[in-house]
Amino acid sequence: MHELALAESLVGKIVEISVEDNISVITSVTLLIGDLSGVDKDALDFALPFVSEGTLLEKSKFIYERVKLQVKCDDCDKESYPEVPIIVCTHCHSDNIAIIAGREFVIKEMEVESV
């Protein structure tokens, strides 16, 4: 249950961006959550209202977008989307792969109004 700490980081980051860009209202925030980010969407959604209280995010809607695990194969050079927990190239089944997506926990975009 580290989602409370994640929610605090998230709210802190957004408040920082809002001050820099003079944002006064945040209607929605879209987050990217990777399959291997270690972030549980439901736990985060539970923590956010407590952390957002008294901030610009109090009434904001949070939208979650999943980022599938994506690997690039060093043998066949192709990219693929293996299913956790078997992390191999789905084309040639090589395990000589590098993870290129799926660890993200990123603020993608926000719908906002300014002063």
Binding site: M1, H2, A5, L6, S9, L10, G12, K13, I17, E20, D21, N22, I23, S24, V25, T27, L31, L36, S37, G38, V39, V84, P85, I86, I87, V88, D95, N96, I97, I99, R103, E104, F105, V106, I107, K108, E109, M110, E111, V112, E113, S114, V115
Partner: protein, 275 residues
Amino acid sequence: MCEDCGCTEGNEKKYFHSHTHADGTTHSHDDASLPHKHPHEHTHSDGTTHTHARTEHDGVSRRVQIQQNVLAKNDEVAMRNRSYLAERGIVAVNLISSPGSGKTMLLEKTLEQLDGKIKCAVIVGDQQTDNDAKRLKGKGANVIQIETQSACHLNATQVGEALPKVIEKDTELLFIENVGNLVCPAAFDLGENFKIALLSVTEGEDKPVKYPVLFSDSQIVLLTKTDLVPHLDWNMQRCRKYLRDIKPGVFIFELSAQTGDGIGEWIKYLSGLVD
């Protein structure tokens, strides 16, 4: 002063455009063609100044692209820790496992073996008590305990604050014993060179596939308490297969801190890290 709303030109700070921040991220502010606009000039945090001929300043909904890592702050501090350690030629490992997998006992044995050969330092994280630090003291290494209170993991700031207290001029190897937890510590970079996951044979060989976030990010896995294998329904080959499924190329050690089995290989490996 604006005749429509009474605002003072130049005071408003709204702008609709695309710009790049000091950290390299770019995002756009949509231009909405609304009736109320003023020309203005503004300066960004990176020092660049530019002028917009006409900009909006009433409540207009727009979409801004952010594309920023939520844990950017932690990652930034972790990178500072990493530089601090690298400048001093120190190798740091982040030990992560469930509570009771034998992290502290393994460290006790490890410090005893390395005493007088490799100068070590230890940062121990627990929610409460300094029991672990007490166990690890007096074995030639500087030890500091971080009590995380309610938190279930160490973060980069806590480690950064502890570094100057445990690192000495001749320190070569830093062990960070994370809070016992297979989930949360995996998300927080502390500035280590790499993560080492511990899995005791009493926990079940399918832990790697049940907790893929940690095991897919650990280059080294220590299978601990192997002296108990004869008493358990533990399948070493199956566990090794699960580990390789989730992390191809993972380096696996089997050891028992109790009997000393496999400790020699582990010590040899650690010695190789600081050579």
